[in-house]
């Protein structure tokens, strides 16, 4: 069996499962945010359950439109708070403690290797980087799981991606996943589990692995997963709030497709409007002028992402035509970035640093695009109207390319400003 099949089998109380089977499985964590939890809370009431299955395993995080951007958003966030109090939830994160959910859960050790996690947010697939099975579902699924601690799944077929070769300077997890999505398309892994492996993955730090699994959904994947190793264990030790179990795929595990990539040939990439699969080398796009740069999100708002951006922009100024918005993904990342002096680098460059929020990534707040405006963002989607006006455009890149583009006022590479 694959790692995915083993985790699903264990949680379904079975010795084995096969792709295509429908199972009912126990979930370790159920997650929702200020957009999706309000519907889940209303549906939960309809079920007639008196309490949630386990108050320590239901996690509610107001992160999308928080800090509360308007009255309606505030009403939605209030529902999370009231539900959390009524059901004595152990993991409700108010502004000041919260962070972007998919950065916060791994950081706080709330998700551990071997878990089965569902979240009413499509980027729940991020936790595959820890060797967990995790997938996005809707609010109604979350409502049912909050009541029963279970969820139904169709066991996915697995697709294997093998990465080898040494990464070039300024190439990271973001470029590997953009390359992959560019190769297979936005539905190339539809209904499937994407298993990432190979020497390049084994030498990739945890932040890069989280970025890769985060964007599995952008290829239509049900989940992304990386078999845990020493890097995973080093990250999880000292964080995990529960015991964990390390699964791996058997040598005779079955994959419906295997792709191999020579990473030494991958250069910094950009996904052009309006699909994440519309990928081109950044060097071919130096004619594209921009109005905004966003460094943040569940994809690339972690400490190392901020370090990369700071390293590129240190001592330089953001182009006069550009606004640059840096959004540390969690309070802990915010504090560490501040301690390391990264904020000084950004402020000296005339960028702003925001409180943690999903904010502009989904066109919520904190950096919305006007008609005709263009952004380079380290986020995950570039659909029509994603960051604002339907006639605006989003180009997706890694943090170093985004920072270089902020200085240049157009899409560009760190090398162009001597980095």
């Amino acid at each position: 069996m694959t790692i995915t099949e083993k985790i699903l089998a264990e949680h379904a109380g079975r010795r084995e499962v096969a792709p295509g089977e429908l199972i009912n499985a126990r979930v370790d964590v159920v997650l929702a945010n200020d957009i999706t939890a309000p519907i889940a809370i209303k549906e939960f009431a309809r079920i007639g359950a008196e309490r949630v299955f386990d108050p320590d395993r239901v996690v509610l995080i107001p992160d999308h439109f928080a800090p509360q951007k308007d009255i309606k958003a505030a009403e939605q966030c209030k529902m999370l708070k009231e539900f959390s109090k009524a059901h004595h939830l152990g993991h409700y994160f108010e502004v000041g403690r919260m962070g972007i959910e998919h950065a916060l859960l791994p950081e706080q050790g709330l998700v551990v290797p071997g878990d089965l996690v569902i979240g009413a947010d499509s980027h729940t697939c991020t936790y595959g980087a820890l060797g967990a099975f995790s997938t996005g579902v809707g609010s109604t699924d979350v409502a049912a799981a909050m009541a029963t601690g279970e969820c139904w799944f169709r066991v996915p077929e697995s697709m294997r991606f093998i990465y080898y070769g040494t990464l070039r300077r300024w190439v990271g997890g973001k470029d590997l996943i953009l390359h992959t999505i560019g190769d297979i398309g936005v539905d190339g892994a539809l209904y499937r589990a994407m298993e990432f492996e190979g020497e390049t993955i084994r030498s990739l730090p945890m932040h890069g692995r989280l970025t890769i699994c985060n964007m599995a959904i952008e290829a239509g994947g049900k989940s992304g997963i990386i078999v845990p190793d020493a890097v995973t264990e080093a990250y999880v030790k000292g964080r995990a709030r529960r015991g964990y179990r390390l699964y791996s795929s058997d040598p005779d595990a079955v994959y419906v497709d295997t792709r191999e990539y020579d990473c030494s040939r991958i250069e910094p990439l950009v996904a052009c409007p309006h699909l994440p699969s519309n990928v081109r080398p950044a060097r071919e796009l130096t004619h594209v002028s921009i109005d905004q740069v966003v460094i943040g999100s569940c994809t690339n708002g972690r400490l190392q992402d901020l370090r990369d951006a700071a390293e590129v922009i240190r001592g330089r100024k953001v182009h006069p035509d550009v606004r640059m918005i840096v959004i540390p993904a969690t309070q802990q990342i915010y504090r560490e970035a501040m301690k390391e002096g990264l904020f000084e680098v950004f402020i000296d460059a005339e960028a702003v640093v925001s409180t943690p929020t999903c904010g502009p990534c989904l066109g919520g707040h904190m950096g919305i695009l006007a008609k005709g405006e263009r952004a380079v963002a380290t986020t995950n989607r570039n659909f029509v109207g994603r960051m604002g006006h339907p006639d605006s455009e989003v180009y997706l890149s890694n943090p170093a390319v985004a920072a270089a583009s902020a200085v240049l006022g157009r899409i560009g590479l760190p090398e162009e400003i001597g980095r």
């Binding site: 007639g48 958003a73 939605q76 579902v137």
Partner: protein
């Protein structure tokens, strides 16, 4: 169950941001969401669509976010069903969970044009195009999904399960 209505055509990879843009997600009120349904794919759509209409699209309909607001907006606008070459998986789950009938049909995606009147026999999986006199096959709905629909959606299904467990 037989569903008959007028078809609106959309292309491939219609994402949930196009179905219901995030700028409207500070509410979950179905009627408010319905006023903006498909707005970023066709700004005139909320004005043009009539109760009973059917959306027909190409591959990967509903890709992107997990927002249940997408099928809710479609259903609240009075759209009876969605036919597509394929659906993104979270949208697929959400549609069944909230009781929006959806049908995977490559033949339908190829043959149906905007404005065609189509009739879907949900039990047999046959889609008849009354305008063109054609017939298309839809993928059969898996037994478990059928059970969900017959029970009235996931919430009712779960409610009954909890009740049954309580009685034991």
């Amino acid at each position: 169950m037989v569903i008959k209505g007028r078809a609106w055509r959309f292309g491939a990879d219609i994402d949930t941001d196009s179905i219901i843009p995030a700028r409207y997600l500070n509410t979950s009120d179905p009627q408010e969401l319905a006023r903006h349904v498909m707005e970023d794919a066709d700004p005139e759509f909320p004005k043009k669509v009539r109760p009973g209409d059917i959306i027909v699209a190409d591959k990967n309909f509903g890709c992107g976010s997990s927002r249940e607001h997408a099928p809710i907006a479609i259903k609240a606008a009075g759209i009876q069903a969605v036919v597509a070459r394929s659906f993104a998986r979270i949208f697929y789950r959400n549609a069944f969970n909230i009781g929006l009938p959806i049908f995977e049909s490559a033949e339908g995606a190829d043959g149906i044009r905007e404005g065609d009147i189509i009739e879907i026999d949900a039990d047999s999986g046959v889609i008849r195009n009354l305008t063109r006199g054609e017939e298309y096959r839809a993928e059969p709905i898996p037994p478990f999904m059928q059970e969900l629909i017959e029970t009235g959606g996931l919430i009712e299904w779960t409610r009954r399960r909890i009740q049954a467990a309580g009685r034991q």
